[in-house]
Amino acid sequence: MTKQSPDMHTETTDKAASITDGLQTVSYTANSQGKLEQVKGPGWQPTGDVNRQAWQEIEKQIEQARNRVAAGRASCLYYYMVANQMSILLLARYSRQSPLLVLMHLIPFFFARLSETRLERYAALFQVTPEDLARGDLRPAVYFSSLRHD
């Protein structure tokens, strides 16, 4: 943990650090002679606060997606799309097909009739197996599989 300071520029907290896995980032802060210098730290607390707010919103959307899938109103593809912060348009670009097709695949009736090739394409994108998709398993989003090599 870096040194705490009452100065607005360097005010940091454990909470701000926790959301970015303790990543030490650089910001510019004036030293005692007024010269702006690079200072490393775990981030400014208000930034951590608003970042957490954004993630709470994403988690809320993921929870709603889970509920829609559980209620049978959407296919598991809908969950994977929301969990990976994609829109229909972005998913269409990634899976190289028309947004209209993606929209159809979000409906359980059409999703259950998807070809193996298309399932494989979606599975590769979301880093799960085609069987996971076929069974309707809701695996964590891509960013949970993060590795740290330092």
Binding site: T25, Y28, A30, K35, V50, Q53, Q85, R93, D150
Partner: protein, 340 residues
């Protein structure tokens, strides 16, 4: 395991990815340049509020110039040449990366951050204009100098290929670049004057009310009315989004105002010019005011406001930023015109 390749490249952490990559690539070519100086010469500072462009259903607010603009300005300096390539297939793009590394050239890449596994989860958004330098390969992993990280990182080839071909806004299409020609004794004074002149034009002379100082005032006008127009929840999300764009990793704090002030300070020293140092102080004051706004906004978003924390008060802070920036950039414009 194939043999390891490691180019002798000095990794220096920086606040902003594009200025960091530019400075590190130039340092590799024996041009001693700081990140702040690269940001200033590359005219990285900007302001734009574009409510008709949406990111995750929230309006685009930017405190920096368009992605790639900084490198482009450097490539146009006399004596400099930047080789840039985009690709239609990942296989071709990765093969070209390997071939360039084999020639002992560190390679700059534009990537999406969502697919980079070494990024903390909280920062993995679909943002496609991140810059990094690849300078080696160990087996199937690339050795990467990512300027916003304290140390070099390793990234598996498959993830890097995915990040290079991220889709969506600002899709990188495998973009890679490196300086194949540089002028070690380039005219820094001219480059500084032109960089400052360009930023002043964008901040003061734009025809569009959404850009520069006018844009800051426009944002203030809109922001003050968000609670009535959007309702409490959506307004808080909009407000938090503005703060994230201003203070998130890569900005150096205060919506890039502190890094630009550092550039003005350094230029003032280099050119022995007191007026630049005075402008640095006023821009730093603008950065402080942006931070006061951010701190108030974060309290509102957290639903823990202090007395006097309102959207209207937050908008007033932004108006004060606009006033200080107007004064600073007018002085800088007079200065740069006097030097031309």
């Amino acid at each position: 395991m194939t043999e390891a390749l490691r180019i002798d490249f000095r990794h220096r952490q920086s606040a902003h990815c594009e200025s960091g990559v530019t400075a590190n690539l130039l340092n590799h070519r024996d041009i001693d340049i700081s990140e702040a100086m690269a940001f200033g010469i590359g005219a990285g500072l900007f302001f734009g509020y574009f409510p008709f462009i949406r990111i995750n259903r929230l309006p685009l607010v930017t405190y920096r110039a368009a992605a790639g603009g900084l490198l482009k300005r450097f490539s146009r300096l006399p004596g400099f040449n930047l080789t840039r390539r985009t690709f239609s297939s990942a296989g071709e793009a990765m093969a070209e990366l390997d071939a360039t590394l084999a020639r002992n050239i560190p390679v700059g890449l534009q990537t999406g951050v969502f697919w980079l596994p070494y990024f903390p989860k909280a920062l993995r958004f679909h943002f496609n204009a991140h810059n990094l330098v690849v300078y080696g390969k160990q087996g199937n992993d690339y050795l990467i100098s990512d300027p916003v990280f304290p140390e070099p990182v390793l990234c598996p080839a498959s993830d890097l290929a995915r990040a290079r071909f991220a889709s969506g806004a600002l899709a990188p299409r495998g973009k890679m670049y490196y300086f194949d020609q540089v002028d070690r004794d380039f005219d820094r004074e001219r480059a500084i004057i032109e960089g400052i002149g360009s930023v002043c034009t964008m901040m003061l002379k734009s025809m569009f009310p959404l850009i520069g100082v006018k844009g800051i005032r426009f944002l203030a006008g809109r922001l003050g009315r968000w609670p009535e127009r959007l309702g409490h929840d959506r307004a808080a999300l909009h407000l938090g989004h503005v703060v994230r764009m201003q203070e998130e990793i890569g900005t150096g704090g205060g919506g890039f105002r502190f890094i630009y002030a550092a550039f003005l300070q350094e230029s003032g020293l280099l050119l022995g010019d007191q007026s630049l140092r005075t402008c640095a102080s006023t821009l730093q004051a603008a950065g402080d005011r942006w931070r006061e706004f951010a701190a108030m906004a974060a309290r509102i978003c957290k639903q823990r406001p202090k007395p006097g924390d309102t959207y209207e008060a937050a908008a007033d802070h932004i108006r004060q930023c606009a006033a200080i920036e107007m004064q600073t950039f007018n002085s800088l414009q007079d200065w740069s015109r006097g030097k031309r």
